[in-house]
Symmetry: D2
Subunit: 370 residues, 4 copies
């Protein structure tokens, strides 16, 4: 399988470039009979859309999605679902200056060396605009998982540059431009971003994602572990440099007597494992955390080389997110949804006849809120 | 593709249980003409082998590997390489006590609920003993990568429970039971482990792995990113709860002007990206760090439920590693080697005709040593 | 990998239904640097297009293709190539009559039973119109194979219903509506089709495809044999019921002394094996022959059941090819091209360093012309 | 996925060479809870075993299989099932004569050119002895399909060289060395084989395979058609040059009014489609027919070239089947079983919630007996 498709049974194939005619995707393997309309995809796409606040890129895109196949009279037919989003606000001239140089920290250099040349317009295929395909595919998975199993997938911003964002409530998340779960902190985040933008610099972020009501038993040992597939899905998102599940790196300093989540008939007493044991979901909440690096396209001048390898300096003036992490929440949710759906299908393929011998243990302990 | 195979072109298939007759694997896709003997695999297996110090499990296994196919007159033929390691020291009676209960933090519970029942002997398929298959497969990849491209893959222990291990030198790594890159710290690590073992508890660990001299251009956007495949490979190792590439979670608090690695004709000036930009290797050192949780099989009594869901308590007395992270270094190296080899083959499949337009930029900056 | 994608490295993903908004596809894994325009795809699509003679369906479609990604300034970039063909002449009302009944020999019944319901408009996903995606993907493969290796892929109609078409010349193929390699026979074929159409019935066909100048060494034992992948590719074409390679079923009655193609320094003396030995190309012409069944949508009344399982009779009046085999030649060529390209890439992935020890033996013997 | 694994969910990985230490395989994806012992595999292996009559190779192998994993207390656990068959009767010296030359019609030449050299002992990886892995994997699939769905898979020899074998009864099949469904014809087959063996030549064969009681709905449009996967599976068997489903090549000369199988509430009235419509099983018997070429290793002297490309002549004296088709019946059955099981799992993955709207139509019409 080549690099633009992922999933074993719920398969997503993606195409498109930042300043080409369109982005699109194909979702293959969706069960038949799911009620689905373009609106279901649009709702999620609108959460990720550029230009919704002054803190993200000002590129003007409606990101209007069209479903081209796989849905008949409002229900999925079981055949491949093709969808399309036309690009509307290409300004390729913005990029003529950087076509001859490599941005430090950007994929400019590696694409050029790998493929012999590159589409420099807006990062071409390396643009984070590709994530809209993931969000659309994830919207379908979210819907099916919710209707079929009651699974709920939610994410939020946990840290913006140096600012840790204590979790207060899910309600706050939808009411600010940052997906921050803490209404009181929003002014501080805005002030930070205003200052950052003015400085011409960018910053990193941490995003947490949670899947609740995931049944026990999804995931395939030993390489097809659900946490392995989640790690791949998250690390495949532009700018992600780290992935944690459950206690994550905090597990290094834990003792076994602290880390191992005790069980009682009433439920697990903690959730250090983040919802997966041995690569199989435990019925606890799946708790993922990812690190996103700062955007590489900044206005600050930096040392680099040009296309002939000569010393140069570069600064990037186009329209860029000063923190790609701000819009990453719906993307991370979507990737988690796709992986879960893939494993839901794989689980019933192999173990569709199995009745779990125990009443599943309740997911009593909430996942760590950082 | 089902869960016990990984890789697209360099494919590793694994089988075996802790107390079954044998472990084995099939490596498919290895180029022909590579000099290979059982000794090449054995050398790496011996690094991972149990019983080599008092700090790891005392199970007595020679882990002797037999190559069953794919090698003729000392060279790989291009056909599937089958290999086998017989289990020698099964003591299944050790596990009768825990067969009826679930160990907190162990896959006991999820295997039982997924498959309807489980092989309780030594963790069955969930045992970390399975990693010997990875080490054998990785030994072949390491050898080919070294001979063909000069790639060198090395790892070390970066933290043992609460003890951070400052990097001093690679030379130290082979001379202690911990793969610690710091000879002076070894007595402290030994004392810590002795005390831990006595307490009946276990601890977590951090392991770093580095691949040097990786050519620019390996990895496939957008889902087939090399860092995505590395993340999956690492997270598929037993007990791993977090994966970082380059700056990892430290990137959250960095600014773009700090994180983006500047380039000069003489080389990159830093390596925050850890050797990959846009999912494609940059020619810098690939720098990976993983978190391993504490072993779940401990002598300390803990609350749990039994096979009928009734409250119970459990303590595990068999032979277990008090810190699985201690033997994880060769495993992490092996997984990285397999992913790199897979992408080396994928790269020449698609881009075998491409001449990189630039002289590759030197990997001047060393990767972060934590 | 789900059902709408095929290929390991040259991956084609397809979507679309006969009376939906559009068909489209994604070609992933194409090497960078190939000159490519929509015209390259259009040329092949025009060969398959409906409405080009009275002997095929009269549906009016321009089948105009748009390339949406993966090409920059006239060359492939190495990223996913998305393309789209809008449907223009949907007349869904034509199908209201058959929505309630199953056509004998049609996928109506199996789609309904598998998915719970179906898109009845023009066969929905089961329509042979889907093959335009294959033709577009094959056009790219054909171009690359031709430029990179000099491979030439050609097909022709070998039998129309009961009429065997003796091979005369490739020149004839492009000059008649049947892809018949025999100009003198065309009036007879036309007369046969006119009579058939009048009768309201349909007929089967045999199509031969040949790939010349295929290098020795493509194909992967044991399950990844190139002939196995070709067989799958051909059998996946609508209406195909049989596939032969080389001597095919004639090999049953042959003796080994007759079948085994003798070799001399000047070349093979025959080509019973049809270009593949042990699943690996031999350097001889790859010679494939396929059987296509008669169209199931006919005007003749037939016994069937309706959606509730009650006895019914059905006749189909819409616009249908009375012989799907007539337009199958470019489709079969395309599928062969895709498989060859996939294996060309796989071969250099694994064996890119191998120098074949012998000067390849010439493909002196022409493939069997039936 | 590399060439020695096949299947999407029921995955079989194979390794081994004719004169290496052992053959083995890994079956991944088998549902848990299936009763399974080595005896279940052995029973099928014994049907394929060499040396059971004077008409097949006289190599003496017990083909004793050992299950190494995936089964606990007599039931499959859901983890990978590894199995091993040691080679016992290697006589590598037999092959020294042919190591320097290429047998016409044999994979000697293509392996050498692809990989740079080859294991010449008994055909190495190209030996038909590899098919024992398929038979073992198929035995598991057969058992599960039978117990879970009542599916029954049977095959027989339909033609031996020029001798067509009219189908008389399944009872006859197990009572002769040929898997011939016609007891009265056995003396004629024996006489033919005795004469053939004496002549030093070999002959081809046709084998038919039938799967009864296959539920409606297995198979995935458009490339994952069950007939496409069956075609690949069959064509991947050594020596197979043609595959037919249902009417096969006879469909070419049929009219639609004859070919399309009419339906009544009591059942289908014919089975020209061979159990699949649109790539999805129809509930009728799956009817497959394959052509096997004559063995290439014959005692008759033939023209060839040697390892340096110089003219030579070759005759093969070792122990060979004069007709590989004779032992092909259990192999073809096994491959069909593996494909069916794969699709049974895929079907419930995607469509596990679908209730087929119609009472399935009975498979009243028997498949064509040739």
């Amino acid at each position: 399988m080549s690099g633009n498709t992922f999933g074993t049974l719920y398969c997503v194939t993606s195409f498109g470039e930042s300043h080409g005619p369109a982005y699109g995707g194909v979702v293959d393997g969706c069960p038949p009979g799911l009620e689905l309309s373009a609106g279901d995809l649009q709702r999620e796409l609108d959460r990720r859309k550029p230009g919704t606040s002054r803190h993200v890129t000002q590129r003007r895109e409606s990101d209007t999605v069209e479903i081209l196949s796989g849905v008949f009279e409002g229900r999925t037919t079981g055949t491949a679902i093709g969808f399309l989003v036309r690009n509307e606000d290409q300004r390729s001239k913005d990029y003529s200056a950087i076509a001859e140089k490599f941005r430090p920290g950007h994929a400019d250099y590696t694409y050029t060396q790998k493929y012999g040349f590159r589409d420099p317009r807006g990062g071409g295929r390396a643009s984070a605009r590709e994530t809209l395909v993931r969000v659309a595919a994830g919207a379908i998975a979210k819907k099916w998982l919710g209707e079929r199993f009651g699974v709920r997938i939610r994410g939020c911003l946990a840290q913006l540059g140096p600012l840790v964002i204590p979790f207060e409530s899910w309600d706050a998340v939808g009411n600010n431009a940052f997906f921050a779960p803490n209404a009181g902190l929003v002014p501080k985040l805005e002030a930070y971003m205003d200052q950052l933008r003015e400085s011409g610099d960018s910053c990193g972020a941490r995003v947490n994602v949670l899947a609740e009501k995931v049944p026990v038993g999804w995931g395939e040992p030993v390489y097809g572990r659900i946490d392995a597939d989640i790690a791949a899905a998250m690390m495949s998102i532009n700018a992600v440099k780290g992935v944690e599940i459950g206690a994550g790196f905090a597990a290094v300093a834990q003792r076994g007597s602290e880390h191992g989540d005790e069980m009682t008939p009433e439920g697990f007493l903690s959730n250090n494992n983040g919802g997966t044991l041995g690569g199989i979901t435990s019925g606890q909440d799946l708790a993922i955390s990812i690190a996103l690096k700062p955007t590489s396209s900044i206005r600050i001048e930096r040392r680099t080389v040009d296309l002939r390898g000569r010393p140069a300096s570069v600064q990037t003036t186009g329209r860029h997110d000063p923190c790609v992490g701000i819009r990453a929440t719906p993307i991370a949710e979507a990737m988690l949804a796709c992986v879960l759906m893939d494993h839901a299908l794989r689980q019933r393929a192999q173990c569709g006849d199995v009745a779990p011998p125990l009443q599943p243990i309740a997911a009593r302990a909430p996942a760590r809120k950082r």
